[in-house]
Amino acid sequence: MEVRIYGELRQQCPDVDLDVKNIQQALAGIKQVHGQAVSDHLLSNKYHYFLARESEPNKVISLTDGLLTMSFDSFDLMVIVPDMQGDVYVVAILGVALFTTTSLTVAVIVAAVINIAIALALGFLMQLLSPTPEFDSDPSEAATRSSSSLFNGAPNIREQGGSVPWCMGESNAGGVLISAGMYSEDV
């Protein structure tokens, strides 16, 4: 039987004719002809073993573990091929990228929730510090009942002593009048 080994061993292992009856004898023969290193390489790496006939080398029959002692009588060719596999490089990268993206998403959501919570807490605190005056009726009517020194008659919605936002700096947009001093003529 002719034994053909393909793959990286092909250069150092030319085809050999072995007088063998089963795969056990074939492996022993390969070890004898090609040496211990080749035998070890075959056993420690994934190779597939097939039987065929020289006349029809394309039609191969798998030699599986269950056929270790199967007779080779009707075959004259043994084909040994390495396993052929590959994958795409991005598997690892995608893992990292997905992990990063997921972590980032979670981080953004957590940050957003924390920000909302802080805003609510500050808002609540501001409300506590800035109690709105109580009116018996509509504040605009209240403004008409009591004298107001506010320019243009806008109702004062902050009670005396309450905090009033104080803006400083330059504004490039139209603002809302929040306070106005008295004109010197009024004094």
């Binding site: 596999q85 590959g86 795409v88 490089y89 990228a97």
Partner: protein, 245 residues
């Protein structure tokens, strides 16, 4: 048809290209695999359990055609990469290892389901055309261009550099390679001469890029390989290595 050069470069005929492309598109989104014979292409079943990212040839089908095989071809499915622009035909470490086990040249094509890229081959074909190469890890990267410069300018064959581009520390790979293959440090920058390897800091990382000094220029592989004025890189030079000094 194959033409003999430093490596056996596989040149596909029109029929082979058409058959491969049709098989790749039909298999999408799974990877396609097959063997190239001297005048044909034979598709082989991909029996991998994760066929969108990997392939395993059906062993019996492969054994039936291995006698006629002159190369292995498989496809990569283009995937969105959120980090950097990596050529989808880039071989994985597994591809590199199994290519060695096969003792045949491998071709990789890539598809997004509508078109198929031209193949890249590895082992790569060394070339003295230094400029204008597009970056592909292991095929046109910053080490392979130095390898080619040494081969064609200095008649020195630098051994292959085996590393995992996506998981290994490039600075450690450079450190190990320099030590293993007889490179010594050039202490003074003024002593630099043609053929010295310049180790550069790149993208904010230490020692993760290299090029070769040539006539006050540096030849290196960025996204596209080119000669740049050496002056422009003075602030990024980390080490200068000289072969066999």
């Amino acid at each position: 048809m194959s033409v003999s050069r430093v490596v056996n470069v596989i040149e596909l005929n029109k029929s082979q290209k058409e058959k491969i492309n049709a098989a790749v598109l039909a298999a999408f989104p799974k990877e396609m695999c097959g063997v190239i014979t001297s005048d044909d292409f034979i598709q082989i079943s991909n029996i991998n359990s994760d066929p969108e990212n990997s392939f395993t040839m059906q062993p019996k089908e492969y054994a039936g055609v291995v006698e006629r095989a002159i190369a292995i071809v498989h496809s990569h499915v283009k995937q969105p990469d959120t980090r950097i622009n990596i050529d989808p035909r880039t071989p994985s470490v597994k591809d590199l290892n199994y290519q060695k086990a096969s003792a045949l040249p491998w071709l990789i094509v890539a598809t997004e389901g509508l078109t198929v890229t031209p193949p890249v081959q590895f082992p790569r074909d060394p070339s003295s055309k230094y400029e204008g190469r597009n970056f592909i890890w292991y095929i046109n990267d910053c080490f392979t261009i130095v390898q080619d410069y040494y081969r064609y300018q200095l008649d020195i064959i630098l051994p292959a550099n085996e590393f995992d581009a996506f998981n290994d520390s490039i600075s450690e790979v450079i450190e190990w390679y320099a030590y293993e293959h007889g490179f010594d440090d050039v202490k003074k920058i003024d002593d630099i001469k043609n053929g010295d390897i310049v180790i550069l800091d790149s993208l904010g990382q230490k020692q993760n890029h290299l090029g070769v000094y040539h006539d006050e220029k540096i030849l290196h592989q960025m996204q596209v390989s080119r000669f740049d004025p050496f002056q422009n890189y003075l602030g990024r030079i980390n080490r200068i290595l000289r072969y066999g000094s």
